[in-house]
Structures are given as C-alpha cells and as structure tokens.
C-alpha cells in the first residue's frame, strides 16, 4: 500500500557558513506533502524555499533531519539512485527557465528522456505530444531565444513532465513573468495537477499566485510559520 504522504521532512535543517557566520537557511522543517495535492510555499526571498527544494530533490545534503520520499529516506540513496530520483520521480521548474540555449524546444523536452533510457524516437514523440498539450505544437523547432518568456516556461514545464514524475518542484515559476502570463502558467500547472495527478509544490513570494493551491505553507526564517488549508476551487 502506498501511503497518502508522498514527501515527509523531519526536523530538516541546513546551515551554511558564510564569512565565519552561520546562516540557518532551514532550521527544523517538519512537513508532510499529500499525494496529488497542489502545495504552495510562500515567503520572502531568502526564507529557505530554494534550500528546501534542493533537499527534496537530493541536490543538497541536510545538516540535520531527514527527507522521506515514498517511504524511502533519500539520505540512504547513492549517486545513481539520486540521479534516478531527479530524472524519473521529480520534475524541476525554475524561475529562470534554465532551458539549454543551443537546443530546440523539442530537444530540450526530450533531453530527460535520454537519461531515462527511452529510445530516441520514442523520447521525441513523447516530447512532441507533451509540447502540444501545453500549447506549443507550432513552436517545436524554435530555440529558447526565439520564444517569449511565457513560452519558455511552458517548454520548461513540458520538460519537467516528460518522464511522468510523481512530483513537480516549481521554484518561483512566475518570478520572471508578467502577471497575466504568470497566471496562465499557474493555471497550466493546476491543470496538470488535476489531469495527471502529479503532486505540485510551488514556491512563490507572490500572494496573487496561491489561488489554485490546496494548501499554503507560510515560511519565515527557515521555519514553517503556519499551514493554511484551502477548499478546492
């Protein structure tokens, strides 16, 4: 039986040393993320949202505490297993899109399928289907520099989704977009969340972007201040 909790953090902390001073980016976060929910994490920049995402994605090791994904403590995983986690289980969306500038939209989206071991044709076919589903069917062979910011973020969302991950981590996905485009992106994420059942965790400092959430986590100084339950729209 799979539990309803897909991600659990226990007393998660990450301290950095900067110029002889200890910076507590995360300082004891206990969080349970439910399978299939849309969770927003809100707080000003520097509050530890990105650090939390890095921990959940296994990109960084905690100073203290644990991250448990599908009942597996990810500190027990080796480099291969962590790479697999990032490739197949988790999709990343960044504020700065981080598309590969030399690759076309289609190639960018197909990239994670290479690491996932999909045959080339199948990966490209899958990438094309998913790009069409985010409304970029006529932009397959465009380079990122030939796309608008909103379109680039759509490509990034398609790339995050292409290996059918269970979790999407979106770090300020609307931070570089105007309000209208930002709303479109958030609505797209919500649609994917509903249609495909993918768990979405979206960090934002913009309270206008939390309307679609099932729950909202408010963070302050590396800790969770409060968690707000919201009714499904």
């Amino acid at each position: 039986m799979r539990s309803d909790i897909i991600i659990k953090t226990i007393d998660l902390a990450r301290y950095y040393e900067l110029g002889g001073e200890i910076i507590k980016a995360l300082d004891g976060v206990d969080l349970e993320v439910r399978r299939g929910e849309y969770l927003s994490i809100v707080g000003p920049s520097g509050v530890g949202k990105t650090t939390l995402f890095n921990m959940i994605g296994g990109l960084d090791r905690p100073t203290r505490g644990k991250v448990i994904i599908d009942d597996v403590d990810i500190s027990q995983l080796d480099a291969y297993e962590l790479a697999w986690l990032r490739c197949r289980k988790i999709g990343y969306i960044f504020q700065t899109f981080n598309l590969i500038p030399t690759l076309t939209a289609l190639e960018n989206v197909a990239l994670p399928t290479i690491f996932a071991g999909l045959p080339r044709d199948e990966g490209r076919r899958k990438a094309e289907i998913i790009l069409r589903s985010v409304g970029l069917g006529d932009r397959l062979d465009h380079k990122p520099s030939e796309l608008s910011a909103g379109q680039q973020q759509r490509v990034a969302i398609a790339r995050a989704m292409v290996n059918d991950p269970a979790i999407i981590l979106a770090d300020e996905p609307t931070g570089n977009l105007d309000f209208k485009t930002g709303r479109e992106i958030i609505n797209l994420l919500r649609e994917l969340n509903r249609k495909r059942g993918v768990t979405i965790i979206a960090a934002t400092h913009d309270l206008k972007m939390i309307g679609v959430s099932d729950r909202v986590v408010y963070m302050r100084d590396g800790r969770i201040e409060r968690i707000e339950e919201r009714k499904r729209e």
């Binding site: 599908d70 597996v72 790479a83 990032r86 700065t96 981080n98 500038p101 290479i114 690491f115």
Partner: protein
C-alpha cells in the same frame, strides 16, 4: 515504481555523440578556437613528417641526402604542447559559459560521468576536425616546400599507403592531445555542484 527497485540512468555514446556534435555545430565560434589550435599544431607536425618522407624519396632517387633536423622535431613538440594548453584554456572557458546548463542537466538526472563523457566526446569531435584540416595544410605546405626545391616529380612519387598511415597517426595524435587537454576542464564540469551552478549568474 519505487526508488530502490529501478535506478537505471543512461547516456549512451550515441547520445553523447549527437549532443556533442550539435553543440560543436551550434557553438561554432567557440569550437573554431579549439579546432584552430589543433589544426596549427598538427599542420606543423604533418608538414615535417611529409618532408621527411620526401627527403628519403629524393635520396633514393639519387639526389643529395637531406633530412629533417633534430631541432625541428623539438619545435614540433613545443607547438603541440602549446596547442594542448590552448585547448585546455578554451575548454575551461566553455565550462564556465555552460555552468547553468551543466547544473540543469544534473537536475534532470545526468550523472557526473555523463557530463565528463559529453565534454570528452566534444573534444574528440574537435580533434578529428582540427586534425583533418591540419593534415590537409601539412600536405599542401610540404608539397610546395619540397616540390619547389627538389622538383615536383619527387613529391608525386609519394605512395598512397604512406599518406594514409600518416593520416591515421595524425588523427590518433590529435585525439590524444585533445583528450589530455580536456581531462581537467571536463572533470571540473562533472564535479560541479548543481546547487552552486544554478545560482551562478553569467
């Protein structure tokens, strides 16, 4: 699917070749520098090697005994060393330019060894291009130099097998040099901390 039961992350040589080739093609300005470095070193090397062959042909045909001097080989060694260092330099710049890209790839599931593979494959593509062009220049230069001094009838006797064997040596040499030159930059790229790389602003 649980994390423990799966765990196959792949990046085949064919994938590396395709991505590497695209990169060389689409970042051609950067590639030209590396190709030029290899080309010049190899052009010098193949010119001298071919001249040596021509001198021997000339001697066999009853001409005077000429030869490539030892110090000239010394110069070739120096030029190959300089070419290796400049490839390292331009590869290091390429790694810095692609910090974010490398970080992103790691986020998408690339392992350290995949990044290493990609950079090494790219350097081999550059080596083959540079080596081939350099060899072409070497042929022209040596034919001109020897043809003008000893007569073109001598250089036209050059056996094809000698030329092909030399081409093989030249390609092998440029791949070796380029790979050696790229080990450090590629290792640096592979060991890049994705958290650090994604924070990096260009």
């Amino acid at each position: 699917m649980s994390i423990k039961e799966e765990g196959r992350i792949t990046f085949s040589l064919a994938d590396a070749l395709r991505l590497g080739y695209d990169n060389v093609k689409r970042r051609f300005n950067r590639a030209v520098l590396s190709i030029a470095a290899i080309m010049l070193g190899i052009a010098f090397f193949s010119t001298l090697s071919l001249m040596d062959v021509f001198f021997k042909l000339h001697a066999q045909a009853g001409g005077g005994a000429l030869g490539v001097e030892g110090y000239q080989y010394g110069l070739v060694l120096v030029s190959l060393a300089v070419c290796t260092i400049s490839i390292t330099n331009s590869m290091l710049i390429a790694v810095y330019e692609r910090y974010r890209e490398i970080g992103t790839m790691k986020c998408l599931g690339a392992l350290d060894q995949h990044v290493l593979k990609l950079f090494l494959v790219e350097s081999i593509i550059l080596a083959i291009l540079g080596g081939t062009f350099g060899f072409g220049i070497g042929i022209v230069a040596s034919i001109l130099a020897c043809g003008l001094s000893m007569g073109f009838h001598v250089v036209l006797e050059l056996p094809m097998t000698v030329l092909l064997i030399l081409l093989g040596k030249v390609i092998l040499l440029s791949i070796t040099l380029s790979a050696i030159a790229t080990i450090y930059p590629a290792y640096k790229a592979a060991k890049l901390d994705p958290v650090e790389a994604l924070r990096y602003e260009i």
